[in-house]
Amino acid sequence: MTTPLVDVQGLVKHFPGERGLFGLGAPRRVVRAVDGVSFAIAPGQTLGLVGESGCGKSTVGRSILRLIEPDAGRVTLDGTDVLATGARALRALRRRMQIVFQDPYGSLNPRMSVRQTLAEPVVLHRLAAGADVPKRIASLLGEVGLDPAFADAYPHQLSGGQRQRVGIARALSVEPQFLVLDEPVSALDVSVQAQVLNLLAELQRKRRLTYLFIAHDLAVVKHIADHVAVMYLGRIVEQAPVSGLYAGPRHPYTRSLLSAIPVPDPTAQRLRIALTGDVPSPAAPPPGCPFHPRCPHPKKNDRCRTERPSLREVTPGQLAACHFAEDPM
């Protein structure tokens, strides 16, 4: 691809597990939230990062922005090494990458009006001053489809969809190049979800934004992403352009995930590949291939139990971490 805007190499984040009694016992096992994740996003594109709870996708998003400090890896934004940037330069760098959160109720300060919430980043980065600030706020609100009268409202007076729009406006206020969208529509009703997804697509076109779209809903991701990466237990198990992934998934987990999604069509005949067992805890990943205890692949063998498959290119552009990627279910 052309020079990627965002390039992540070998991102690692481990959380120390809880200690025993009163913090004095030996530390329990480390939680490997992100265990070596790499991907690249070309400018103007959207990478969908999907997975179930505990797979580490939110941690990836926050680590890229350095809201959580990763333990290892390299993150490059338009050539700049994000992880090596010092504190002062980081603030300037923060203008170029922003985040929109999942919970519209928690992501706005309840004590600040919409105007104050939107003015803060503008003033902080000296993007406007004095009389220009209200103009800028009005323009931002218009861009996200909110009436400028909303500027005086407080979060508790707004609906979930409206709060989410304010969150998006806040992220846009510093004119970023790259936006991490951490499950931005998961907490919204279906009809509002559609409105916000349309808004995000339109903003991407208008402002030439690059998105990392984190979600657990594969149907939503299919609609908005150009490429998709599937995560399981802190690692990417499959990565492909959106058409390739949905038409011909190469990893058994992707396959099961796709077949588990309910389709609003009662006549659709789908073979549901049921996974047994629970999603394992990232504190105790199974040996060998982390997916092997639940894997429904008919050719699963001892190699799966002992040898961890690496993420490799199976067909041009499509990567999978499975010993039988050439021979999918």
Binding site: A42, H223, S259, V263, P264, D265, T267, A268
Partner: protein, 349 residues
């Protein structure tokens, strides 16, 4: 034609809001039937009144600030639930009608073991001794697919995952073999692979025990896969009611139509790239506007401010539930004037 197991007629549940913001008419005249052994899907978005409806059936609405209006009628196996004495109602709750909730992790009592909680229903309703009830609990855990039930029975909720907790909740609900299970968004808080497991479990148990299920959800995909009939709610009212295949093939109410069109589909072809490569990405159809507040439902048809087809009559005359054909009368009903004036259903721009 069998008799319905549950008959709800003109249910109205109102809540008093503080400081004169008016009365929230959360459920405002809901009627439907539920037949033995069938799965009824109750679909709607937040604020439509579906959860309040289900809580009203078991009279679990807190009395201030809520109250079920006189004139509401809920009949279960021929008995009016709204006029039962508390003692008789308690004999039905957990025994003939059971309920499971959305958040399995918080619906279980954290200080009691899983086994104790399952056994409680058996002890209260069937008078089993503690030992018998414990054996019953182990049986139920086996039934719902908990691995190693003899050991699992002594676990505490915090030691179990979300999917396991939901299975425990189902076990608790089914211990007395109820005739009706009300499931309020049972899989919303769960991962999609676990969701698939739980839905399969419910379907299997329903077939084995021959019970009816009222499945409340906002997910049309789940409804398509599991329900026999669907009731769509909006703004405290039933707006459409039909057998599942009929509803998805021929959604008649503009809200149902809009909902179906705005869900991103996994089985639709992938949209092309955006921005840099290829043409513009397809827009999802969306319903304009948002759900109104329960304290101020719009006049006339409650959906008219957001409806692409609305005309003069819709703003002044609230439509009743009209029969829309599709078989015996009452099979497919819609609360919309388009049934009487189908010519106005023009194509969307």
């Amino acid at each position: 034609m069998t008799e319905p197991l549950l008959r709800v007629r003109d249910l109205k549940t109102y809540f008093v809001t503080e400081h004169g913001r008016g009365t929230a008419r959360a459920v405002d005249g809901v009627s439907f039937d539920l037949y033995p052994g069938e799965t009824l899907g109750l679909v709607g978005e937040s604020g439509c009144g579906k959860t309040v409806t289900s809580l009203s059936i078991l009279r679990l609405i807190p009395e201030p600030p809520g109250h079920i209006r006189p004139g509401s009628f809920i009949e279960f196996e021929g008995r009016n639930l709204l006029t039962l004495a508390s003692r008789e109602l308690r004999a039905i709750r957990g025994n003939q009608i059971a309920m499971i909730f959305q958040e399995p992790m918080t619906s279980l009592n954290p200080v009691f073991t899983v086994g104790d909680q399952i056994a409680e229903a058996a002890i209260v309703h069937q008078g089993l001794s503690r030992r018998e009830a414990r054996a019953r609990a182990i049986e139920m855990l086996q039934l719902v697919g908990i691995p190693d039930p003899a050991e699992g029975v002594d676990r505490y909720p915090h030691q179990l995952s979300g999917g396991m907790c939901q299975r425990v909740m189902i076990a608790m609900a089914l211990v007395c073999h109820p005739k009706l299970l009300i499931a309020d968004e049972p899989t919303t808080a769960l991962d999609v692979t676990i969701q698939a497991q739980i839905l399969e479990l419910l379907a299997r148990l329903q077939a084995e025990l021959g019970m009816a299920v009222m499945l409340i959800t906002h997910d049309l995909g789940i409804v398509a896969g599991t329900a026999d009939r669907v009731v769509v709610m909006y703004a405290g009212e039933v707006v459409e009611q039909a057998p599942t295949t009929d509803l998805f093939a021929r959604p008649l109410h503009p809200y149902t139509e809009g909902l179906l069109a705005s869900v991103p589909r996994i089985d639709a072809p992938a949209a092309g790239g955006s921005g840099g490569s290829g043409g513009p990405r397809g827009r999802l159809h969306s319903i304009s506007g948002q759900v109104p507040a329960a304290t101020a439902w719009p006049a006339g048809c409650r959906f008219h401010p957001r409806c692409p087809y609305a005309w003069g009559r819709c703003a002044t005359e609230p439509p009743p539930l009209l029969d829309a054909g599709g078989g015996a009368p009452g099979t497919h009903t819609v609360r919309c004037w388009l049934v009487t004036e189908p010519g106005r259903r023009t194509a969307r721009p």
